[in-house]
Amino acid sequence: MHDSIHPHHITFVGTPNCGKTTLFNALTGLHQKVGNFPGITVEPVIGKIQIQHSTVHLIDLPGIYSFLPKSVDEQLSVDIIHNKISDLPKTEYIVAVLDGSSLEKSLFLFSFIAELGLPTIAVLTMVDEIKARNGILDDITLETILGVPVIPVVGKKGIGLQDLRDSLHQTDKFLVPNTIVQASANIEQRHTAVREIISQVLTIREDKITEKLDSFILHPIGGPVIFLIVLGLFFQSIFTWAEPLMSGIESLFSYTQDYLRSTLPDSLLRDFITDGVIAGVGSVIVFLPQIILLNIIIVFLEDCGYLSRAAFLIDRIMGIFGLQGRSFIPLLGSYACAIPGIMSARIIPSEKDRMATIMIAPLMTCSARLPVYTLLIAACIPSIIVGGIFSLQAIVLAGLYFLAAISGLCIALVFKKTLFRGATLPFLLEFPPYRVPSLPSLLIIVWNRSKEFIKNAGSIILLFSIILWALTEFPKAEIPTGMTSLQAERIQLEQSYAGTIGKTLQPIFQPLGFDWKLTIGVIGSFAAREVFVSVMGQLYSADVSDSDAQLRTILQQTIPFATAISVMLFYVYALQCISTIAIIKKETGSWKWSMIAFAYTFMLAYSTALIGYNLVKLI
């Protein structure tokens, strides 16, 4: 037995949905690192396994169909295989993952792999599916034809994994494949060669289960009904399940702040720790429940095979706005929060469609806008019933949601006709067979994405939060004695840099009917939109108590109706969220797109508020 002394690198190559990632996760568990390539949606992952006393590095590449890439993601995989990416180890050994239930596509890809002339092992996945379809696969003959070892596995159940593990650290088990197609064969010739091989090794029946399920799930009437039910559950779960966790995290952090405030001596350092750092860390962690939940649901829907069917059903409607079926998920997710929504745009394979989706995601009415809307609606829209059953306040709220959605989709169309013209990837949806997802593999993927969020976007969000804290805390104002804490906060805010900025920018917001207090509220919202409510509380009700009901009464008396409409319209469009700006940078790989998103939403917010304000004043 030959054990290599140096850790060797093994690259896993396979078609999309071939079970490669499940296999990879079963082999490496949590010992993996996600490669970070700006602007690339799918993650090349490097994992480590320890076998006996030697370490082996495994590299999992995004799935490909051939070595003729059609998208940036596929290009990355092909470039890594061809050693064109300098910061990754050279391709030495290859594990070709062959999907037994879809052998033609897998062997077609293998015809390219074989031409590399590198030592290779073939792993045959989905052998349980071949059995379930009364199929027989002659892996011994396949081994002879391909010229490499063929190891059958069932990644989910761990069958064959030990065999594979044993082979992975013995480099002499890897063999250079036989030539299975003539040099420079075209696509048709490759398929002909592959079909000839399959006729010798595989007999399989049609997948009746998938066919049967599809007749329900894609039924002309039943399909859309099931689709709406799934969407309803999806929407409901991110709102209702994540909500208690989020408020739990918020109270945990505010408890920690209170505890430190009461135990540490009164100093600037204490304020920096409690209001700067802890509040900042809290504003990162608070996103985790939604990110985790949304990712669990999306990975589950993707792995069980439903996501591409849902995309099939909704594609026509999304197509009107220049988007595609899969854009629906990130946009819907953005209704809870744009952060997980934008991250989930990775499920869109076409780069331009993904970019257009990301750019309009901030316009979807996220849950942080809700406290602002409810406060202003309660304060300024009369609580009357129109048309017998409809509350005017509810109609206004629904109107704001609808306005955001329809504007977002129309803007997507504008983006697709200008900046993201054409489709880089031809629209083509593959329906994988219905499968029960592997739970451990799902959890590993969700774990990696959450870790990535904290590491990459989290650090920017934390930095911004601390800067915003400093802007409201400095310069220190002289607080006269005998003031209530709320009055003291108001004076501090007024005299801080944030207050100065608010007053300086006031002329810009004057035409929208904002006074300097509203302007500070709008600027404070950049930390998070719901901050508007607490800033309003500090500025308006400083002389009374801070209870919500009284704030409403005060706002009702001091804010004109036209101004309230103007503020609401501004919040419909404005990208006042540093976390969203950070995540756009992370997901597109460039500050440029964050800035473009910020600029266009600001112009839209400003002009709509201006028009709305003046229209209401006329009436």
Partner: protein, 89 residues
């Protein structure tokens, strides 16, 4: 040069993929344009002469689902109007 690969008799029965009825079986005759989309279709196994079934159409003139071998895939009608097929009797 795919379009010259078909003999005259077959050419008479050729119809555009988009006019094929649901549930019909047909064989790919030609891709009149050769782009990334048609290249990807061929990579997935839908080469000239390959028989497939048009399984269903999505509502409101949405994508159409084709099935061949163990592959099921959906394509947009607007993209696939250049694909000519010969119905299998």
């Amino acid at each position: 040069m795919f379009r010259f690969g078909i003999n005259k008799d077959k050419k008479k029965q050729m119809i555009p993929l988009t006019t094929l009825a649901v549930g019909t079986r047909a064989a790919i005759a030609s891709f009149s344009s050769n782009n990334e989309f048609t290249e990807r279709l061929q990579e997935m196994g839908l080469t000239r002469g390959t028989e497939f079934t048009l399984v269903r159409k999505a509502p409101f003139n949405g994508p159409i689902e084709l099935s061949f071998g163990s592959v099921r895939l959906a394509v947009r009608t607007t993209q696939s109007d250049s694909i000519m097929v010969v119905p299998v009797l």
